[in-house]
């Protein structure tokens, strides 16, 4: 089994090296994409085998070698394959495989095709390290690794020029990449502090040691650790207020958005909280957990409001990702870790599908992102239409679909915990989710064919690509059916991960479910009514609404990016320039002034050397006097 662990871990790395080192600088070679995809598929197969092993035999723990050892610190490259990590492994490798295959079609005209696969596989490798590591430092390696890959991939089309914020809220791919990286680093600092706290209080960074020791620590320390780690999670999972990078990261190629910014990397924060469930389920950190749940709920709602009016097809999906991450955090914060993880997996499938579908639309529309310019694409792109529909149904949480089970469970959890505000907001958000996701579907696939006037000739994606997407569609529909099995599977991990609804909740479950479904259906119906019409019922721009305050507020993302620009970026830039000025003028100036003072003293006293013996004698006399006076004084004193 150990070999299998290493195969699962390193085959993406091999793929990355293959594409990067051998062909990184050579012209486009289709087979690099296929080799990379095949190697990711190997990972998938290994992961599934490992999952079976975990389910039947139990967790695997391997240590490869020592990494850092200094003082008492000893960090190995160790990997643990248990219920949590293997779930993630399967999800990540499955989505990655499909995205890889998808990308061979999506990127086939890009001249940096080979480079793309090098980055994409490297990302999978980093993600695998993140998931599989058995200690916090290893997690941090993956954490930063995915950050860099995200930087590389968001900035993949680095040659694009900057545009002003008003024209393009994410300015340029390279700008968005930097923003994502730096914002993540802010959170990483929090995580580092958490690691330091753990080390100095426990003396190890191994999960098992740390979690065993946790209950014996003082409350204050536990709370600090919990907060610090969660700050790290907030960055990666783009929770408020570190969320702006996620929508901007949509500058990257669509497969990247699907893989990194929907299915895998952004869920790393949720993964961390789930991974640290023995910590977050402690009584001492209950406040922190509640905060996580509340923040998650808030973000779910907050992102959904922005998605209601967004025009950019990818931004809508990104905002819905943000919103769903909020759901996951809500569940994790409320203690329903396995439900959070289940929703994470379900979300990965339908969101990746949604993104890839959006990618198809973009591809068909020559990279046009504005849904106002689309419409009536359903005939031209039947396959994508079906996929997008399935994904949206899943996202909206309609019965049978994966989203129904997982999301409903989260909402039920909120009810079960008695946190009715959270429950209420999550329910409302569920309705909004249905509305905006179908708004997008109807906008792009139904209604008038607005694109014709603009001269587009849409065509659907390659057949094989569409076929490759089928597993995702299948899982988007059916994943929820396996919820019971999954529960049995993950209950084998430990006690804190287990979560059961109370009897009352069970009793009212049908009603809760109905409310959610009713709201979702209302949302879909509203969207249909407003956007799907043709002819005279067709949607028209509502200038008055677009001029209203609420629209402006939402369109500008609650002015948060503006705020960051005005109150962080610009002051920082100005302060930097001022500091530089200060450094040159004052700090360096003082040094120069000292030098100049010496020079001036020399220059002035040069007058003494006037060549006149008499004045020399005078100076000598003064000197002699001084010496005599000193002699007298010192004899008097001492």
């Amino acid at each position: 089994m150990e070999t299998l662990v290493y195969i699962a871990l390193f085959s993406p790395f091999v793929g990355s090296l293959f594409a990067g080192l051998l062909f990184g600088n050579s012209p486009r070679k289709m087979f690099t994409g296929w080799v990379a995809s095949a190697l990711i598929f190997v990972t998938f197969v290994s992961s599934v085998t490992l999952a079976y092993h975990v389910a039947t035999v139990g967790a695997i723990h391997v240590q490869m070698m020592d990494w850092i050892s200094a003082g008492d610190l000893s960090i190995p490259f160790g990997f643990v394959i248990d219920q949590i990590s293997v779930t993630m492994m399967v999800v990540v490798s499955l989505v990655s495989t499909i995205v890889h295959i998808y990308a061979t079609g999506y990127m086939d005209h890009d001249k940096s095709y080979n480079r793309f696969f090098a980055y994409l596989s490297a990302f999978v490798f980093a993600m695998m390290i993140l998931i599989m590591s058995d200690n916090f430092a290893g997690l941090f390696i993956g954490w930063e690794g995915v950050g860099v890959c995200s930087w590389l991939l968001v900035g993949f089309w680095y040659h694009k020029a900057d545009r002003p914020f008003e024209e393009n809220p994410s300015i340029s791919p390279s700008w968005a990449a930097n923003e994502a990286f730096i914002m993540n680093r802010v959170a990483d600092l929090g995580m580092l502090v958490g690691i330091f706290l753990i080390y100095w209080n426990i003396g190890s960074l191994q999960y098992d040691v740390v979690f065993d020791a946790m209950p014996h620590l003082a409350d204050g320390i536990l709370v600090s650790i919990a907060i610090a780690l969660f700050i790290g999670a907030m960055g990666k999972s783009a929770q408020f207020p570190l969320h702006t990078w996620l929508t901007d990261a949509m500058e990257g190629p669509t497969p990247v958005s699907a893989l990194i910014h929907a299915a895998t990397m952004v869920t790393a924060g949720v993964f961390l909280v789930i991974r640290a469930n023995p910590l977050y389920s402690l009584e001492a950190v209950h406040g922190v957990s509640m905060f996580i749940a509340s923040l998650g709920t808030f973000v779910a709602f907050y992102a959904a409001t922005m998605a209601l009016i967004a025009r950019d097809i990818k931004r809508i999906v990104a905002l819905s990702t943000l919103s769903q991450l909020g759901y996951m955090f809500a569940a994790a914060g409320l203690g329903a870790y396995w439900i959070a993880l289940f929703h994470l997996a379900a979300h990965a499938f339908f969101k990746a599908l949604l993104f890839l579908g959006a990618g198809n639309v973009m591809h068909a529309m020559d990279d046009e992102l504005d849904i106002f310019k689309m419409g009536g694409l359903k005939n031209a792109m039947r396959g994508s239409y079906i996929y997008m529909g399935i994904a949206s149904f899943a996202l909206a949480g309609l019965p049978i679909m994966a989203g129904f089970y997982s999301k409903d469970a989260i909402i039920e959890t909120a009810f079960n915990e008695g946190t009715y505000i959270i429950w209420g907001m999550l329910v409302i958000t569920a309705g909004m989710t249905a509305f905006y996701s179908f708004r997008q579907v109807f906008f792009s696939f139904h209604g008038e064919k607005r694109y014709e006037a603009l001269g587009f000739h849409p065509h659907d994606m390659y057949k094989y690509v569409l076929i490759a997407m089928a597993p995702l569609a299948a899982l988007a529909i059916s994943f929820g059916w396996f919820m019971g099995y999954y529960k049995d599977f993950i209950y084998g991990l430990n006690e804190t991960v287990q979560y059961e609804m109370s009897h009352t909740t069970h009793h009212w479950a049908w009603l809760l479910g109905s409310i959610v479904i009713a709201l979702a259906l209302t949302g879909i119906f509203l969207a249909w009514k407003k956007y799907a019409g043709e002819g005279e019922n067709a949607w028209k721009r509502d200038e008055k609404f677009e001029a209203s305050f609420i629209y402006k507020l939402l369109e500008n993302q609650y002015y948060v990016p503006k705020f960051y620009d005005q109150f962080i970026v610009q002051p920082y830039t100005i302060a930097s320039a001022k500091f530089w000025e200060f450094d040159k003028k004052t700090v360096d100036g003082t040094v120069d002034d000292l030098g100049k003072a010496c020079l001036n003293i020399g220059d002035t006293s040069r007058g003494m050397q006037n060549g006149n013996l008499s004045s020399y004698l005078n100076w000598m006399g003064v000197g002699a006097m001084i010496i005599v006076i000193i002699a007298v004084i010192s004899s008097v004193i001492g």
């Binding site: 600088n25 200094a70 003082g71 008492d72 610190l73 680093r185 302060a575 360096d588």
Partner: protein, 507 residues
Amino acid sequence: MDTILSILIFFPAIAGFVGFGITKGSAKIYGIAVATIELILALLLWMQFDTSNAGMQFTEKVALIADFGISYNVGVDGISLFIVVMAALITLLGIILLRPDTKNMKNMIISLLFLEMTMVGVFLTLDAIIFYLFWELSLVPMLYIVGAWGGKDRVYAAVKFFLYTFAGSLVMLVGLLAMAYLYHQANGVWSFSILDWYTLPLTEDQQFWLFLAFFAGFAIKVPMFPFHTWLPWAHGQAPTIGSVILAAVLLKMGTYGFVRFSLPILPDASVTFIPLIMALSLIMVIYTAMIAFAQKDMKQVIAYSSVSHMGIIMLGVFAMNAEGLGGSVFLMLSHGIVSGALFMLVGVIYERTGTKLMSEFGGLAAVMPIYATVFGLMLMASVGLPLTIGFVGEFLVLLGFYKISAIGTILAGSTIIIGSVYMLALFKKSFFGPVRHEKNLALKDLDKRELTALIPLVLIVVWLGVYPKPILGPIDNSAKHILTQMEAKAINPATKETIILSKKEAE
């Protein structure tokens, strides 16, 4: 094998003298050959080095002025070993990277070889006077390199560099002499041997003043805020090779001095001064990183980033535990490698375009992909990405310093944020976006000469990032050794409490 250290020190100098007789055309080859032999010798030393022994090895001692206890005394431990190896490596790669059409190539090579002698000498010597001798001698070849091959303000920069560091080291000399005097008072014999000094008990008052004296010499060399302003000038005007060696090795002399002198000789004062050092280092870390962000010149960005990173190293030196101290020594190495490489890379583009202004570039990633890749990797190492060499040291330093001050660590940790801010801004401005100038489209990617110099650094960056153990092990041993000495020597119980030998013991 017993005299390998002396050979290491004096071989480049002798070769330098011989170099006067070499013809102009073969000067570079000669330089490469000598530097290669020196590197092989250094590696040989590493092979022979007993990693389990934390103390001094390969010691040699020849009395020079017996009456005053001045002797030629050399030795190597885990801390100096790798700095010496790095100095030899960086010198070799620097010489390889020299343009074949450098003017006065012969003089350049000879200067470099003498510089190598002084660098190796500083790190290997165990006698304060000899240490001071090499310390000051190292200024001279650097003065020539900056002053003769530099940019248009080279004379100003060279003189500033020389006078500034010289002024500081004179104060340090007073400290060294005072130290010897105190030793004489206590034991009746003169000794300038650092190892003897380690055993000399000093009152807190004496330690306080001696620390200040040493501080003047070392802090300017590091360079600590507010004594750092010579560095941007020196880097701005120095030729590539000068910047590379300056950043990679010469700055490390300052921090090495703190490790070798201040800590073990003056343990109580070192602890007393932690707040001051912390304040200055934090200013260095944050303030200079912000200045780096404001720069328009690529080289200046890296120059200021050097100051910022040296701040982290300083924090590690004063973390008073093996994690921090070992980490800071490792960070010295990694910073040497990474900043050396970055300066080389800036030199590469400067050779091609004649400018270092970021506004002149843009879109270089498309024109020079290999260059951009190497640059990107070094950049990531510089911002401390895990699995590159930069992370290990930075992580350990911050981890170690957390025990001293949590707030200080969080502030210092902001380096991972603001460090990436200026580095990514640099990368975006020069490598991303559309190609701004037509003429940049014709730029050539790295050629063989440049790749030969850079590939080893790339490999080291990755290798030591993934598997730092061969180097971290001996460093850790010696760091613990130093801390043990400090704890044994400390007279103030508060000092003993601050120094943490082992966490288990502390609990």
